[in-house]
């Protein structure tokens, strides 16, 4: 069944998310690249003017350009101090290198001799109208300003920056944000799984289960969850089939009763009665009377909301406690143990466990946003609340799926890995970006999504708040 819908849907959703994300990221980075390259070129121009001022000081006192001592070291220091500056060159009027710093001569000379650069300098004329715009050649953005001795121009200051540096810097910055991208993909993975389970796998399992139980002795159960989807209508047809069998059986019983009353021959009447009795015992008792209708609990009822609650708890815990010492871990441990005890042992519904879990996250987020509410006990309060969240969620989840999945522990483990893992990755990015103040907003967003997921259908809400235990018949 996984290959029918779950795997194609997961792959499609992840591909869609990655495609959408890649395109938007490409647009963002292209825009950022263009803006930052322009800023970098401005910096190159500023550096060129600064070098021009210094060199012209020497030229004004009569030192020829080629005789300025230490010019090479001065230019090299300028290039070394700033990783964005790739080279700084003093040239003569023919753009021949006189002094340089930065990249080696072998790479530098072809750039100075390139037709595009020569043309750009020629077009700039005497630079009196406006500065020469940057020329891009083989990834270098090159600017030039004229060098003036008293009364005449003697050469140029040429400075180059490399846009590659900007792109590398952007990509390195993006790596800091990569964990959040992986976290979102984990949540989308769980969302696609949940969609496949709730619209296809779980309803289909229910239909198969009803059909398999049909030939077993005892009353025939009908489905209490029939939405307007394709499988919901199939379940409705199943109910209809049972109803029609009940209708036929009732007609046969009525006929048997009628014949038994109407005939005068006692043997015939006895035979009619016997046939009616047989139909009553073998068919009618199974389908007539008060219909046995049950809205079955399904794992998909709380898969997504559980994952989102665990994500919120993990995000808050990592963001709040990562900077502290190990002793802070006692608070979530206490909260978790207390919640497991309360919601694991008491005969309450799973819905109230989820409500308590969400309320605990809300309390933690509220305390984070308004620390004065807990005056000095912020970390213990947040830790305990998030421990309560995890404990209540796990207890509610275990009670709900116990008996309807093969291994409740494995089922919970998958939720913890996907939900908790995504929350932890989001928190990691928040910490790397030093944006811990945004964590409570993310937590509130996640519990909002959890509330939506738990209320996706009215029958789901009623099922979650039904008192436990309510197990299917053996």
């Amino acid at each position: 069944m996984a290959f029918t819908l779950r795997i194609p849907l997961i792959v499609s959703c992840l591909v869609g998310a990655c495609l959408g994300g890649s395109l938007v990221l490409f647009v963002a980075l292209t825009e950022a690249d263009n803006s930052l390259v322009a800023a970098l070129e401005g910096k190159a121009l500023a550096h060129a003017r600064s070098v021009k001022d210094d060199v012209e000081t020497a030229l004004r006192i009569g030192i020829p350009l080629e005789d300025i001592r230490g010019a090479g070291i001065y230019l090299e220091e300028g290039a070394q101090e700033d990783p964005d500056i790739r080279f700084v060159v003093l040239t003569d009027l023919n753009l021949e290198r006189v002094h340089y710093g930065g990249i080696g001569r072998r790479r530098l000379d072809p750039l100075l001799a390139s037709p595009e650069f020569q043309q750009a300098v020629a077009d700039a004329g005497d630079f009196s109208a406006r500065p020469m715009g940057a020329v891009e050649i083989t990834g270098f953005s090159i600017v030039a300003v004229p060098l003036m001795a008293p009364e005449r121009q003697v050469g140029y200051v040429v400075v180059a920056v490399q846009a590659k540096q900007v792109r590398e810097a952007l990509l390195i910055e993006l790596l800091h944000l990569a964990p959040s991208g992986v976290g979102m993909l984990l949540l989308l993975l769980e969302y696609a799984r949940w969609t496949a389970r709730s619209v296809f796998e779980d309803p289909l399992k229910r239909l198969a289960s009803l059909m398999a139980r049909f030939r077993r002795p005892g009353r025939i159960e009908r489905s209490g969850r029939n939405d307007r989807s394709e499988i919901g209508l199939a379940l409705l047809h199943f109910n209809g089939i049972v109803h029609r069998l009940a209708d036929r059986a009732e007609r046969v019983l009525n006929l048997a009763d009628e014949v038994k009353r109407a005939v005068f021959d006692r043997d015939v009447a006895h035979e009619a009665g016997r046939r009616g009795q047989e139909v009553q015992q073998t068919v009618a008792d199974r389908v007539l009377g008060e219909p046995l209708v049950r809205a079955d609990p399904r794992p998909s009822d709380l898969e997504m909301s559980l994952a989102l609650l665990l994500a919120a708890a993990a995000l808050g815990s990592v963001a709040a406690l990562a900077g502290g010492d190990g002793r802070d871990l006692i608070w979530p441990t206490v909260g978790l143990a207390a919640a497991v005890g309360v919601f694991g042992g008491a005969h309450s519904s799973s819905g109230w466990g989820l409500v308590a879990s969400g309320a605990a996250v809300f309390a933690a987020a509220a305390a984070w946003l308004s620390p004065e509410l807990v005056s000095g006990w912020l970390v213990p309060f947040i830790g305990t609340s998030l421990g309560v969240c995890v404990g209540a969620a796990l207890a509610a989840g275990h009670r709900y799926v116990d008996g309807i999945v093969e291994s409740p522990v494995r089922w919970l483990l998958v939720r913890v890995v996907l939900g908790g893992g995504s929350g932890a990755l989001l928190a990691w990015t928040i910490i790397l970006e030093a944006s811990e103040a945004t964590a409570p907003y993310f937590m509130l967003g996640l519990i909002g999504a959890a509330v939506l997921a738990a209320n996706s259908d009215e029958v789901v809400r009623r099922r979650l708040f039904a008192r436990l235990p309510a197990r299917p018949a053996a």
């Binding site: 819908l5 869609g16 938007v24 993006l174 959040s180 014949v259 035979e271 970006e433």
Partner: protein, 266 residues
């Protein structure tokens, strides 16, 4: 969750994934750009601070005081080339060792005490350092004497009002282009869902036909049973179920027939 058909659910899942992926990437891209813009301006201000600090370093080494008027004039003038192209909004100031402003391109600040964060931000190795400030980008450099005592600090700052419009312009462009990307991809998702032959749709169609046929068989109007390609989960349970239903129907018909015959012969 299943109130709508499965195609609608698949489309919602795909569309949600596309929107979440695009939104996450958009936030990441904007954050990277925002930090990049701040870094770029910090680097420009670093140039400005370096130029002024060079002159001040030389003057201090020559025995002048940090508040020497001629030294201060030359320091501010030396950075004019580096300040070109910075929107004329930057403010360059020199602080003495107590944090008092002894010179500034904004004359209103002269004589005022600078925020303590500026004094403490300059690193011990006299490198240029930046200060976290909400309303401006601030770059500082400490000026030391020959005996390694702190003589003063050079501060260059650029109000965020210069930077923010650039960030907002990117945000608007990103929002528009991102929306276009999302709309196109969602349209593509709709085409994928409604035009591609998903195996699950064939199975659900077969299920619909089969259950409808079986339901009609039990009614008074005849129907042709058809199984087609049922979902795999029903492959093993549906045939016995169908056989049981048909057997029960047949049995009830036979009983009804037998009772009618009894009635007629009696």
């Amino acid at each position: 969750m299943g109130a709508a058909g499965i195609r609608v659910q698949l489309f919602i899942a795909l569309a949600t994934s596309i929107v979440i992926g695009a939104a996450t990437a958009g936030v990441a891209g904007y954050q990277v750009f925002r930090l990049g813009v701040v870094s770029a301006f910090e680097a420009r201000l670093g140039l400005v601070v370096d130029e002024a600090a060079r002159v001040l370093d030389a003057g201090i080494m020559a025995g002048l005081a940090i508040n020497d008027p001629q030294l201060l004039r030359r320091a501010l003038a030396s950075s004019s080339a580096a300040r070109e192209g910075l929107f004329d909004a930057e403010i360059l100031a020199v602080l003495d060792s107590q944090g008092r402003t002894v010179s500034s391109t904004s004359s209103a600040e002269i004589g005022e005490d600078a925020p303590p964060a500026w004094m403490s931000a300059a690193t011990d190795n006299s490198g240029v350092d930046s200060v976290d400030a909400a309303d401006s980008i601030v770059v500082v450099r400490r000026i030391k004497s020959l005996f390694n005592t702190i003589e003063g600090v050079v501060v260059a700052r650029l109000p965020m009002t210069v930077v923010v419009p650039r960030q907002q312009a990117l945000l608007y462009r990103l929002a528009i282009l991102g929306t276009v990307v999302v709309v196109v991809l969602i349209a593509l998702a709709a085409a994928v869902v409604w035009l591609l032959p998903w195996p699950v749709m064939r199975q659900l169609e077969a299920l619909r036909e089969t259950m409808t046929s079986l339901y009609h068989e039990l009614g008074d109007s005849p129907g042709l049973p058809s199984e087609g390609r049922l979902p795999r989960a029903l492959a093993s349970v549906f045939p016995p179920f169908r056989d049981d239903v048909v057997r029960l129907r047949t049995r009830l018909r036979e009983e009804a027939g037998a009772l009618n015959r009894l009635d007629e012969t009696a």
